[in-house]
Amino acid sequence: MVSFGPEVTSLWYVPIIIAFVFAIYYAVVVMKPPKESKGS
């Protein structure tokens, strides 16, 4: 059975940091409000 040692097991917080960075990217880039077009 595949198993991982302490050097991998102890890094549980790394994917959380990546998820947070992705959430900021999503908020700033993906969900950026559309620019309102100026009237002629």
């Binding site: 595949v2 991998v8 097991t9 994917p15 959430a23 908020a27």
Partner: protein
């Protein structure tokens, strides 16, 4: 010291009751009472979502896992943040907000009933919500009794009764609007009360790397992944049952109903991730720290109360008790409201008295909150062996019942009311079978009863939907209109 803790807790509860009274005067309509009038912004949504998640059960009871099984269990928090926050917020938070407003749905059974144009779906859904909420509430109250027993040395049953009475009074007064305001305030208290545990614990041990080394010295399996319980437990329990199953939990689903618009998820998500990482990380790490510092515990779920009692200074003990009180009140409060609304809006208004006025439904909702509270107190007096197992059983049961019809209702036009009925009923029955009647088969098929149960309910949802008459084309088209016009706009922009 004990008297001071009790007096401080009573003052705290009195303040929250004041918030409940304030909200009572502001909640003018059933929509205000049940979904805060769809007015929540990102901060309040993030806090109320996360505080509903973190009960004393998931903070105190779940810390028994890293205590028993080691550091691999910390990945439970990692998976929870990905599957309980990232996926639902980005995947369907906004869509739920849009569709529930279009259908004028105020509760989860209300939404599913209207989406599938079926009173049967609505009432079946309401029954599952009531069963699910009952189990969940018992586990929350049991955890709260453990907290008082461990720290304030109040007898278990007294702690359960005092706490439950406070929650019932507070929720029946405030509704969701009061709950959301109180959850924000209580979320701040929870953060302040919980961070001291890993800070002081790690300083006693000598840092995080020392914790890893010391755990490995006790038993090398404590720092390996999957470690002592193995991959089936890791996949079936930590990933599927404790995280993915929450997609079908009414107390999370209903949170998206309350947003002021669909873009609220934009900033609510990073706020929720930070909050959850601090809350869950601190508490669960406390379990691992307890394995090094505490060697003679009678029960693993006493690890956090004992750690707090032995290592934290008095002021931080009081703050922690408040945090646990807050954690339990927010979760139990949300659940009481969910089950009260299932009885009042979906059973009473839909079945018992179809012409009930809004005022009558509000009164019934408050009365049902009281009745459910009393029943769960009676059940929680005799505590379960390991709190978190019971908690996750409820989460899995609800998840297996609702996930296919909920997500299918949001994305799949072809889903029918018979498909939804078969899916919800089979999810419930399969969960009970694999959980209680034949648990070894459930474990063999996926590590946890949720996995085979949700597979069965998903297959039945798809097969029965395809075998039955499609829903009215006009109704479904109007429901999906906004999402499809957005797709068309994007395509035309590209071309």
């Amino acid at each position: 010291m004990i008297t001071s803790v009790i007096i401080a807790a009573l003052v705290y509860v009195a303040f929250l009751l004041g918030v409940g009274v304030y909200a009572y005067t502001k909640a003018k309509t059933l929509s205000d009472y049940l979904i805060a009038g769809r007015t929540l912004g990102p901060w309040i949504l993030a806090f109320t979502y996360c505080t509903s998640w973190f009960s004393a059960g998931s903070l105190v009871g779940a810390a028994a896992l890293p205590y028993k099984f080691g550091l691999a269990m910390m990945w439970g928090i990692t998976f929870a943040i990905i599957f309980m926050l990232l996926v639902p917020f980005i995947g369907w938070g906004g869509r739920v907000r849009v569709m529930t407003e279009k259908l004028k749905a105020l509760t989860v059974p209300d939404f599913l009933g209207k989406r599938y144009q079926s009173i049967g779906v609505r009432q079946l859904c309401a029954i599952v919500v009531i069963v699910f909420a009952g189990i969940y509430l018992v586990s929350i109250l049991a955890a709260m009794g453990t907290v008082f027993e461990g720290v304030a040395e109040v007898p278990y049953s007294t702690g359960v009764i005092i706490f439950a009475a406070c929650v019932i009074a507070y929720v029946s007064l405030g509704g969701f609007k009061g709950l959301a305001l109180a959850n924000f305030f209580q979320g701040c208290v929870m953060l302040a009360g919980i961070v001291a545990i890993p800070i002081i614990g790690l300083s006693k041990i000598g840092g995080y790397s020392q914790l890893v080394t010391r755990l490995g010295e006790i038993n090398p399996k404590l720092v390996e992944m999957p470690g002592i319980p193995g991959w089936p437990f890791f996949f079936g329990f930590l990933i599927m049952a404790a995280s993915v199953a929450t997609w079908g939990n009414p107390h999370f689903m209903v949170q998206f109903f309350t947003m002021k618009d669909k873009r609220v998820v934009r900033w609510a998500l990073p706020i929720a991730i930070v909050f959850s990482a601090i809350m869950g990380g601190s508490s669960w790490l406390g379990g691992a720290i307890g394995r090094v510092l505490l060697t003679d515990l009678s029960r693993p779920d006493l690890v956090i109360p004992t750690l707090v009692h032995q290592y934290l200074p008095f002021v931080l003990v009081v703050l922690w008790v408040f945090a646990m009180l807050a954690a339990s009140m927010t979760s139990a409060g949300t659940f009481l409201l969910v089950v009260g609304s299932a009885f009042s809006r979906d059973i009473f208004q839909g079945l018992l008295k179809k012409d009930a006025s809004e005022r009558q439904t509000l009164i019934v909702s408050r009365v049902m909150t009281l009745v459910v509270g009393v029943i769960t107190i009676a059940l929680a007096i005799k505590p379960p062996e390991l709190i978190f197992v019971l908690l996750v059983a409820a989460v899995g049961l609800s998840g297996a019942s609702f996930i296919p019809s909920f997500l299918g209702g949001l994305w799949w036009k072809r889903g029918t009311k018979m498909g939804a009925i078969f899916s919800i009923a089979s999810g419930l029955l399969a969960s009970i079978y694999f959980w209680k009647i034949n648990p070894s088969l459930g474990t063999m098929l996926g590590g946890h009863f949720f996995v085979p149960s949700v597979a069965i309910s998903t297959v039945l949802y798809i097969v029965v939907s395809l075998l039955t008459e499609p829903p009215e084309k006009e109704f479904v088209s109007s429901l999906f209109e906004e999402f499809e016009s957005k797709k068309l706009t994007s395509k035309s922009e590209v071309s």
